[in-house]
Structure formats: structure tokens, C-alpha cells
């Protein structure tokens, strides 16, 4: 269980995270979404005790992680796959980490195998591709068999096989009852992986809900109408409860399906040259929500 409460982090005059509050529950994969610079990595660094919060708290299982003497059995984390010394072999890197937490060397061989790195274990990390470094970072996160796992952009640079492995891994870890928090700036990466979403923009919380709720809210269907009597239809539809705006000579109505729009037009003898129903993708919904947050941080967009 991860709890972030009223977390604020400022670097000099720049506020990276502002009054952020959310909870990440065990047994589920939680996607931590937001555009670049939204404050995801900052939040994770504060959560892991690497940075000190300016205000608020971030705890793992009720305690600040930074106060623990050893970390690997509490939280398995991959913050940045590049945060390794290129001069060491993959095995040496993992062996040193394991040793510091008194984890037996046999476990190093297990996670190397899980990550598909057994063949590369004796190679120096400097020669690894980004995808291989991601695998190494994930292997390190698995070392302690921790109940809480945190991954920052784990899919960057992975090949399709790697992406499939990672998605399956997240599902498995959650199914075992672990807390799994995965950050990403791409909705499409989370669409088939996450159960819950925490969405941030400009350091502030935009949404913290299940993927299903987010989908229902963000992907309301729209009806696009083309008519010579646009003004008349606009006021009619608005009077019937739809929210309507004009977009390049077309009317775009939400909160009403195409059949209803057609019926209203017919009743008032308004000719339609086009009547179309569309459902935005999750990616679009995410883009719209986060773009709004950037432009109107508190306002009711559109």
C-alpha cells in the first residue's frame, strides 16, 4: 500500500509537485500517468526517500521508506534504467545489491533468468541496449520479492517480446497481492495493463480512479452534425440537455446519442447533411484531460 498525502515538492522556485494526494492499493496494477514534466518521477523519488518533500508525506505500508534500514524486501524499484555503473557486469551489479540486503546469490541467478539476462550476465552493462538495461533494472526490482513494486517508464526501449513479458509480469505480481505502481506518459501502454489510474498534470492530480471509471468519464461519445441551420439546431439540442459546441462549421454534441439528435432535427424540420457518432480513444481522452490541466489547472474545461 502506497499513500501520498498533500505532497508538495519545490526545487528552488519551481514547484514540481503540488498538493498531491492518492493511494495505491495492493493486488492491482496502478498506472501513474501524465505528460513529460508532470511530476511523476519527482513523486517517485520522494516516495523512495531520495528527495525530501517540501510538504506532505509519502509512505509505504504506513512508514516513510527513507527511514528503513534496508529497502529491497520492502520495495522493488526501477526508477531509471540508466542509474547503473556501466563498468560492472550485470551479475556483479545484482550481486552487490543483493549482498547489501543479505539476499542469497542464488536469487541473483533466478532474477537474471526471469529477465532473460542469463546469457548476458557476464557482459559489462555499458554495452547493453536500453531495453537490456530495463530488463536489468526490473531484475533488480524483483530481487527482494518485495510486496510493493515501483517502476518508472519501464517499457522504454523494450522490444515487443520484452513489452509482453513486462505486462505479464505486472499482472502476475498484482495477482500475487502485491502493490504495483507503473508510471508512463503513454496511455496506450497502460490501456491493457492497469486496473487503476493516477493521472497527473503539471504536478497536480487530475484523476485517481479505476481504468473503467476513467474510460467511462473520458470517452463519452460525441455526435457530429452538419446542417445549414446550425444556430437553430444548437439551441434546440442545448435545450434538450446536450452540451454542444461548433467546430469548423460542424456541431459537436455530447451527452446525447445520434438517434436522439436525428429525432429532434426531424421534429423541427431541420435538414441534416451529416450525422455521425464517434467515441474517442482512451489515448485521446487522456490527451484531452492532461492538455486541459495544463491550460486551465482548476477550470471546468470546455
Amino acid at each position: 500500500m502506497i499513500e501520498v498525502a498533500n505532497l508538495t515538492k519545490r526545487y528552488g522556485g519551481v514547484t514540481a509537485v503540488k498538493d498531491l494526494t492518492f493511494t495505491v492499493r495492493p493486488g492491482r496494477v496502478t498506472g501513474f500517468l501524465g505528460p513529460n514534466g508532470a511530476g511523476k518521477s519527482t513523486t517517485l523519488r520522494v516516495l523512495l526517500g531520495l528527495h525530501r518533500p517540501s510538504a506532505g508525506t509519502a509512505t509505504v505500508d504506513g512508514r516513510p521508506f527513507g527511514g528503513r534500514p534496508r529497502g529491497l524486501r520492502q520495495v522493488g524499484a526501477l526508477l531509471d534504467a540508466q542509474d547503473v555503473h556501466g563498468g560492472r557486469t550485470a551479475r556483479a551489479h545484482l550481486t552487490a545489491l543483493a549482498r547489501s540486503n543479505r539476499i542469497p546469490p542464488t536469487r541473483v541467478e533466478e532474477v537474471l533468468e526471469d529477465a532473460g539476462l542469463t546469457g548476458a550476465a557476464r557482459r559489462r552493462i555499458a554495452g547493453f541496449s536500453l531495453g537490456m538495461k530495463q530488463r536489468l533494472g526490473i531484475a533488480a526490482a524483483l530481487l527482494g520479492g518485495a510486496p510493493v513494486l515501483v517502476f518508472d517508464e519501464p517499457l522504454n526501449g523494450l522490444d515487443p517480446e520484452g513489452v509482453r513479458w513486462v505486462r505479464g509480469l505486472f499482472r502476475r505480481l498484482a495477482a500475487e497481492g502485491r502493490t504495483v505502481l507503473v508510471s508512463s506518459h503513454l496511455m496506450s501502454e497502460m490501456e491493457h495493463t492497469a486496473d487503476d489510474l493516477v493521472v497527473v498534470g503539471r504536478g497536480e492530480l487530475i484523476a485517481a480512479e479505476s481504468l473503467a471509471e476513467f474510460t467511462a468519464r473520458g470517452c463519452r461519445q460525441r455526435v457530429t452534425v452538419a446542417t445549414p441551420a446550425a444556430d437553430a439546431l444548437l439551441s434546440l439540442l442545448t435545450a434538450e440537455g446536450a452540451s454542444v459546441r461548433t467546430e469548423g462549421g460542424l456541431l459537436v454534441a455530447t451527452g446525447m446519442d445520434a438517434g436522439r439528435v436525428g429525432a429532434i432535427a426531424q421534429r423541427h424540420g431541420i435538414p441534416l447533411s451529416r450525422l455521425q457518432e464517434e467515441r474517442p480513444s482512451l489515448e485521446e481522452a487522456f490527451m484531452r484531460l492532461t492538455a486541459d490541466a495544463v491550460q486551465y489547472p482548476t477550470g471546468d474545461a470546455r
Partner: protein
């Protein structure tokens, strides 16, 4: 929570016992030792520094050997009487190279982690930062001591074997030998800890190297023995302490003399201060 049927048995039943074993400092020392020895650069850089220092000492002894015939008998006697054969076991040039090289080598384990970001990985695995930096200090000091002992003993045996070709080499149990060997050996870990402390405080590679060179090499050049205050400041420096501890018995005392115990104290104070700075500098800052 139920286990999904497709979960591999390994991930489902972690091989690691979940009850946290009692944290031991020794584990961190072992981990830091794995990190130090698993870098090829550790061995290459320490090997190169050892060759340079040993080479400087052997070269000086060989020079004495080669030009021995040019000396008058009185000159030869004065050479022995002044204790110069022992001084050639570890020359001033070798000491200067040792201080600069070991400062940088001692800084590297931490600089490498700052520069690559690996320190974040380290502190995520072990949030107890002071224990991590403390373990690093133990490993850096231990390795540098071994390096110092090896280089000092090899230099001694090599130079005295060369000087024995002229019949003036001295034995390991000769007068003053243990003090010279110990002072030269311990110069290495004290410098390495100094470098580590500067790395912890400055974090940047270039700044650390510059500060190291200034602290151990430039300051001794700037502060002379001839005035009371500069002499006093000079006596707080590592190289000055080493010079005091290895001064040949027959040399004239400086204008403002100081005791051997004072010089040993300088070693101890530098080492203690360096460890304190190392531990405190990264205890709370964002990494």
C-alpha cells in the same frame, strides 16, 4: 489474494524469506567491496599508480647506484650518515604522486555513483545512507591501506637491493625503518579518505579532482617553513606530516620544529574529519 494460475512458481513463492533479517553493517561493507573489485578500472588505476610510485623510488635508487663511483669517499660516508639510503626507500616525489593519485582513486567509488546515477539505485536498496557511506569509507580505506603496504614494502625491498649493490642498503629491522614504512603506508588511506570526502561534498568530478590536488599538493607548496604562521598552517597538512615522519635522522631541524606525535595526530585528524564529512555530506541532500 489468490495466485493466478499462469504465475510461475518462482514469482509466486519468492525465494527470499520475507521476514527482514537484522541489518548488518558487514553486509554493506561486503557489497561495497563487490562494487569496488568488480570494476576493471579499479585494478588498472591502482596498478598504474603502484607502478609509478615504485618506479620513482627504484629510479632514484638506481641513479644513486649508477653515479656512486663519482662520489668521493667522504661524500659516500655523509650519504650513509644522513640516512639517505632509507629516504630513497620512499622518495618525496613518490609521496607527492601517492597523495594526488590516492585522493583521486579514493574519490572514484563515490564520484562514479554520482556521475552515473547509480547512487539512487544504491540508496533505494539501502535507505540508511550513513551506513552506506560509512561502509564505502571502510572499503576505500582498507583497499588503500593494502595498496600502500604493498607499494611501500616492494619499494623498500627494491631500492635497498639496488643500493646493496654499493653496500649501503639497509635491512627491514634497521633504525627508523618501521616508522618510514608505516608513515608511507598510511599516507595512502588518509589521502583516499580525503578524496572520498571531497567527492561527497562536491559531487562533481572536475571540482573534486581540483580540490584534491589543491589540498594535498598545492597547499604544501604555498605554505613555507620560514614564518611562524605559515609553518603552523603547513604542519596541519598531510604531506608535511609525512615529511616530518620520514625525515632522515641526520637532517637539520626546520626553523619551527614539531614532534613526531604531532605528525601522527595530523594523519588521524585528517582521516577522522574525512570520514565525518563523507557521512554527513550525503545524509540528507536530494540525490
Amino acid at each position: 489474494m489468490t495466485t493466478a494460475p499462469h504465475a510461475s512458481p518462482r514469482t509466486a513463492q519468492p525465494a527470499v524469506p520475507q521476514e527482514e533479517p537484522r541489518p548488518r553493517f558487514a553486509d554493506l561493507v561486503a557489497a561495497e567491496w563487490i562494487k569496488l573489485r568488480s570494476l576493471r578500472s579499479t585494478w588498472i588505476a591502482h596498478g598504474a599508480a603502484a607502478l609509478a610510485v615504485t618506479g620513482l623510488n627504484a629510479g632514484t635508487a638506481y641513479d644513486t647506484y649508477a653515479h656512486w663511483e663519482e662520489r668521493t669517499p667522504a661524500d659516500r660516508a655523509a650519504f650513509v650518515r644522513a640516512g639517505l639510503p632509507l629516504q630513497e626507500a620512499f622518495t618525496v616525489n613518490a609521496a607527492v604522486v601517492t597523495t594526488v593519485a590516492l585522493c583521486v582513486l579514493g574519490a572514484l567509488p563515490l564520484l562514479g555513483e554520482f556521475a552515473t546515477g547509480a547512487l539512487r539505485t544504491t540508496f533505494t536498496a539501502v535507505p540508511a545512507r550513513s551506513a552506506v557511506t560509512g561502509a564505502k569509507a571502510v572499503v576505500v580505506a582498507g583497499f588503500a591501506t593494502a595498496w600502500g603496504a604493498l607499494v611501500t614494502v616492494v619499494s623498500f625491498l627494491l631500492t635497498q637491493a639496488i643500493l646493496d649493490g654499493r653496500g649501503v642498503g639497509i635491512a627491514l629491522d634497521g633504525p627508523g625503518v618501521p616508522r618510514v614504512l608505516l608513515a608511507s603506508t598510511l599516507l595512502a588511506p588518509v589521502c583516499a579518505l580525503t578524496g572520498l570526502a571531497l567527492a561527497a561534498a562536491l559531487r562533481r568530478t572536475a571540482a573534486t579532482v581540483l580540490a584534491s590536488v589543491t589540498a594535498v599538493m598545492v597547499l604544501p607548496l604555498l605554505l613555507g617553513e620560514d614564518r611562524y604562521w605559515t609553518a603552523l598552517a603547513r604542519h596541519a597538512l598531510l604531506l608535511a606530516a609525512w615529511l616530518r615522519l620520514t625525515a632522515p635522522g641526520g637532517s637539520a631541524p626546520p626553523p619551527y620544529p614539531w614532534t613526531e606525535a604531532g605528525a601522527w595526530t595530523v594523519y588521524a585528524v585528517w582521516a577522522t574529519a574525512a570520514v565525518s564529512v563523507t557521512v554527513l555530506a550525503v545524509r540528507r541532500r536530494d540525490v
